[in-house]
């Protein structure tokens, strides 16, 4: 059975296709992650997501150069276009 499913998959992005319409987790450059429902993607890993929650991991540095503990900032977006050059990984969310 697995072979049957695998035979139609010829390149890595074919796996992303399986997540269309599903919630995915995307790790981005710049210490950001987003989760959202995947609507479209292309060969450059440009993706369109809806119901997005973006998480930004921030480390603030005090004036004397000491890093504060990392903090997390979140925001929610209705619809988001993510340019592919920032994408590090795409994965289906586990539920």
């Amino acid at each position: 059975m697995d072979d049957a499913a695998n035979s139609g998959i010829s390149e890595p992005l074919d796996l992303v296709k399986l997540s269309l319409g599903e919630r995915v987790f995307i790790k981005l450059r710049g210490d950001r992650t987003v989760t959202g429902v995947l609507h479209a993607y292309d060969a450059h890993m440009n993706v369109v997501l809806s119901q997005v929650e973006e998480t930004i991991h921030i480390v603030d540095v005090t004036e004397d150069g000491n890093p504060l503990p990392p903090r997390i900032e979140k925001r929610n977006l209705e619809m988001l276009f993510v340019r592919g050059d920032g994408v590090i990984l795409i994965s289906p969310t586990q539920q």
Binding site: A4, A5, S7, G8, I9, L18, G21, Q95
Partner: protein, 837 residues
């Protein structure tokens, strides 16, 4: 910067430019001018894409000839004077004010310049050098009409400036990279200060100057044979109306000067201007037609003397400050972008454009560019409503390749459009053909890079720039695999398999829908038959992929149920049903009902709400939200389809379905979920309507016959069994009762009480209504003694609901909903809630 930005924003501004002419007198930072600057720049960008003649020797970039200075004349055109002026704008290395104050003659002629005006030099140089230029040109013209004129001295200076970047807007790159040795004569003119910076206005004016030749239809070939007289005449034209070239003034580009720039005519600006003309026809009119007249861009005093036009009010200081701010930002932006000017030669641009175009070209533009087509159709209908013309929705590029365009082509690109698109399509056609040939040679290239390794290719098998789909992947169907191992109980489909199967189904459905759209004309009988056969074949494929015909117990959940479990599959359901014939949809429904308990929305129905959401963990909340979303989606997408199929069933079938459900599942568990309630309600109400209204239907006499006594008897038997299984659990069907049961601890008393917000309460009543509707159809279907049983089982629930609706703390809206719910049930029995004391 994007051409579209310029395109969009400039349109409204243009209409104003005339009216705002007075303002432009004292403000160099008119918004409208800013707009125009961007519009021009944007148009330039557009032109890069639209008007380049790829691979045809490059008129725009004729500049890639490296050696051989003897071609310089042709490259630079005959009149270096004008060119030098035109090129100056681009050579702005820094925003700093001028280092050398070259303010002289022009200052006397024009309004006093601000001290910090960074734009002081260019016109000064321009004019002071002109007499010399004229002399030298006249002297040299007979022998070498195209030789560098006196003003090339200033060009030379520009080139020799250390930090000078190459010209903006992509003008003839080679001319900047290859300085000509200046004729000694040209040095008689005053070289401009190296540190000078051009202002936005100057840039505008110069762009406008460059833009002019298109209207003069000057072709490079003609320029080569300019006679002395002609050159002189041109020089005179420049001198005589000198005001018009004032770069100090934010003149609207087209009005700025009648100066001819013949040498640049072939450099792409001509075509750019033509494009501009086509896009903004109103620009070309007006002042440009009367070049001798002073334009509205002149200082206030002159303006009033010259034309006496009414003066609009002065802009307020804040406005001025704002505009200055804007201007600074724009200048800085242009400068920052200017760093990269002419990094790419025209062949580089061609190359990239080709790559981009080849990405766009597709073998099936109608499907691949579906959204462009839809957008185009919408736009087209609007334009037709406005009385505008029609155009193709697809640009054909070669055999079977094309790209969809959003919106009519001709209108988009103006009168240049058709021409440009023709060029473009020939380019892509060449590319595609070339590519196709290559693929014949090296077909294994398709697999290259599949594993992510970068293949560099070689001469025999170059790395594909354009991937044309050569063969279809072998069709993968888990179902066929399954059929080979009949009778075996297997593991359920994995999530990956489900997703894969769904993607295949979507592909098939999309193809089928596309096929249906391409129906041949009703007159062509043969074609219609072929078309029908093709559609039927596709439906068969879809049917097989649905895996409905798998044995019922092949796995848990059944493969088909696995397909409808994800929201993606649920959304597919109504689209599928449209194409399935009646018998197949009945089969599908029977399977669905038989395996209803395997549905995620039934097995993992959302748990009853808790009194205090803070008791839940985050994962819990997410899980609940997901289940709710799945249930909602199931009710939205699948249930309407189920209703539709049920509505086409006869009583016998309905009875059969109910029997299947009663046999194969614990009815009360299914009925305790919203999808279950919806299914049973649909079945029971259909049965009731079949029994109640056996009135002969002239359209469908069959239906009347279907209610024969045997079927009726079968139905009542099945229903009675169903009801009796359900009766003991009737109270548990109501969400409020379930919630109360599930509640525990200190929050328990809150359920259904005052603490629940009214909104949540109303949502609860809405859910309750579904169940009340269900028990109502139960009551309607039930025989008399069963009705008594039913009322007995629900007695407490009814009393409780009616009493709570009269409770003072319950909001009127909710109370009304409660009463309506109860009455839905009671009215079916001929009772009413008002009868309850």
């Amino acid at each position: 910067m994007s051409g579209f930005f310029g395109f969009d924003t400039s349109l409204p501004g243009r209409g104003n430019s005339g009216a705002q002419g007075g303002r432009q007198q004292f403000s160099g930072f008119q918004a409208s001018n800013v707009d125009e600057t961007f519009a021009l720049g944007g148009a330039g960008e557009e032109e890069d894409l639209a008007v380049y003649t790829w691979g045809e020797g490059g008129m725009g970039g004729g500049g890639l000839l490296e050696g051989g200075d003897d071609l310089n004349d042709e490259t630079f055109g005959g009149d270096m004077g004008e060119i030098s002026n035109n090129f100056q704008f681009s050579s702005q290395p820094a925003p700093a004010p001028t280092t050398k104050g070259k303010i002289a003659s022009t200052q006397s002629r024009y309004k006093p310049k601000p001290v910090s005006d960074p734009f002081a030099f260019s016109e000064d140089d321009f004019y002071s050098s002109r007499p010399t230029a004229k002399k030298t040109t006249s002297a040299k013209a007979p022998s070498r009409p195209k030789a560098s004129t006196a003003q090339s001295g200033s060009v030379e200076n520009l080139w020799n400036k250390p930090a000078v970047s190459s010209p903006a807007w992509g003008t003839a790159p080679s001319s900047m990279t290859k300085p000509t040795p200046p004729p000694s004569a040209s040095y008689s003119s005053q070289p401009p200060a190296p540190g000078h910076i051009k202002s936005l206005e100057e840039i505008e004016a110069e762009m406008a100057q460059m833009a002019m030749p298109s209207t003069s239809t000057a072709a490079p070939t003609q320029q080569k044979v300019l006679s002395l007289e002609e050159i002189e005449k041109q020089m005179m034209e420049q001198i005589e109306p000198p005001r018009q070239a004032t770069p100090q003034q934010p003149a609207p580009p087209r009005e700025a000067t009648p100066t001819q720039v013949p040498g640049l005519a072939g450099s792409g600006y001509a075509s750019q201007q033509a494009l501009l003309d086509s896009m903004f026809p109103e620009l070309g009119k007006g002042p440009a037609a009367v070049p001798g007249q002073p334009t509205p861009a002149f200082p206030a005093g002159q303006m009033q003397e010259g034309q006496g036009q009414p003066q609009p009010p002065r802009p307020s200081p804040e406005e001025l400050a704002r505009m200055e701010e804007l201007h600074k930002r724009i200048t800085a932006k242009i400068q920052s972008m200017g760093k990269y000017n002419n990094l790419m030669g025209s062949s580089d641009k061609d190359f990239i454009t080709r790559i981009q175009l080849s990405q766009l070209a597709t073998a099936d533009p109608y499907t691949s560019d579906f959204y462009a087509q839809v957008f185009s159709a919408l736009k087209r209908s609007r334009m037709i409503a406005e009385g505008q013309g029609d155009g193709p929705t697809v640009v054909q590029v070669g055999a079977g390749m094309g790209l969809g365009v959003g919106g009519p082509v001709g209108n988009r690109f103006g009168k240049m459009g058709q021409n440009t698109m023709t060029k473009l399509s020939t380019q892509v056609k060449k590319l595609v053909e070339n590519r196709a040939q290559h693929q014949k040679v090296a077909n294994t290239a398709a697999l290259q890079g599949a594993l992510g390794r970068v293949t560099r290719g070689n001469a025999a098998a170059p790395r594909p720039v354009l991937a044309i789909p050569t063969s279809n992947k072998p069709e993968n169907r888990p179902a066929s695999q399954l059929n080979q191992q009949t009778g075996v109980h297997r593991a359920a489909l994995t999530k990956k398999q489900v997703m894969f199967a769904l993607e295949e189904l979507y592909d098939a459905i999309l193809e089928l829908e596309q096929m249906r759209r391409e129906a041949p004309p009703p007159t062509a009988m043969e074609e219609i038959e072929i078309w029908h056969a093709k559609c039927q074949a596709k439906v068969d494929i879809i049917w097989r992929r649905l895996m409905v015909m798998e044995p019922l117990d092949i796995s848990n959940p059944h493969p088909f149920i696995s397909l409808v479990n994800p929201i993606k599959g649920q959304k597919l359901f109504p689209r599928l049903l449209r194409h399935l014939p009646h018998t197949q949809s009945i089969t599908l429904l029977s399977l669905l009902i038989a395996t209803y308990t395997q549905l995620d929305v039934v097995v993992r129905a959302p748990p009853p709400p808790v009194a205090d959401a803070s008791l839940l963990t985050k994962a819990d909340r997410l899980d609940r939200a997901k289940r709710e979303a799945e249930t909602d989606s199931f009710l939205q997408f699948v249930i309407p389809g189920v209703d539709m199929i049920i509505n086409r069933c006869g009583l016998g079938l309905v009875a059969g379905m109910l029997a299947i459900s009663a046999q194969r599942s614990e009815v009360w568990r299914v009925a305790a979920t919203r999808p279950g309630v919806a299914l049973y309600t649909a079945l029971l109400s259909k049965a009731q309507s079949l029994i109640r209204s056996p009135t002969p239907d002239p359209m469908n006499s069959q239906q009347n016959q279907q209610v024969d006594p045997a079927e009726l008897e079968q139905w009542s038997k099945t229903f009675t069994y169903f009801l009796h299984v359900l009766l003991p659990h009737l109270n548990d069907l109501f969400p409020s009762s379930v919630a109360q049961k599930a509640a525990f601890g200190p929050g328990a008393y809150l359920i259904g009480g005052d603490a629940v917000s009214d909104r949540e309460g109303q949502e609860m009543e809405r859910r309750e209504a579904e169940v009340w509707g269900f028990v109502a159809v139960l009551a309607v279907n039930a025989a008399e003694e069963d009705q008594t049983n039913l009322v007995g089982a629900l007695r407490e629930k009814i009393l409780h609901t009616v009493q709570s609706s009269r409770h003072p703390t319950v909001s009127p809206a909710r109370a009304e909903m409660k009463l309506r719910n109860v009455n839905m049930f009671l009215n079916g029995l001929g009772l009413d809630a008002s009868m309850i004391e």
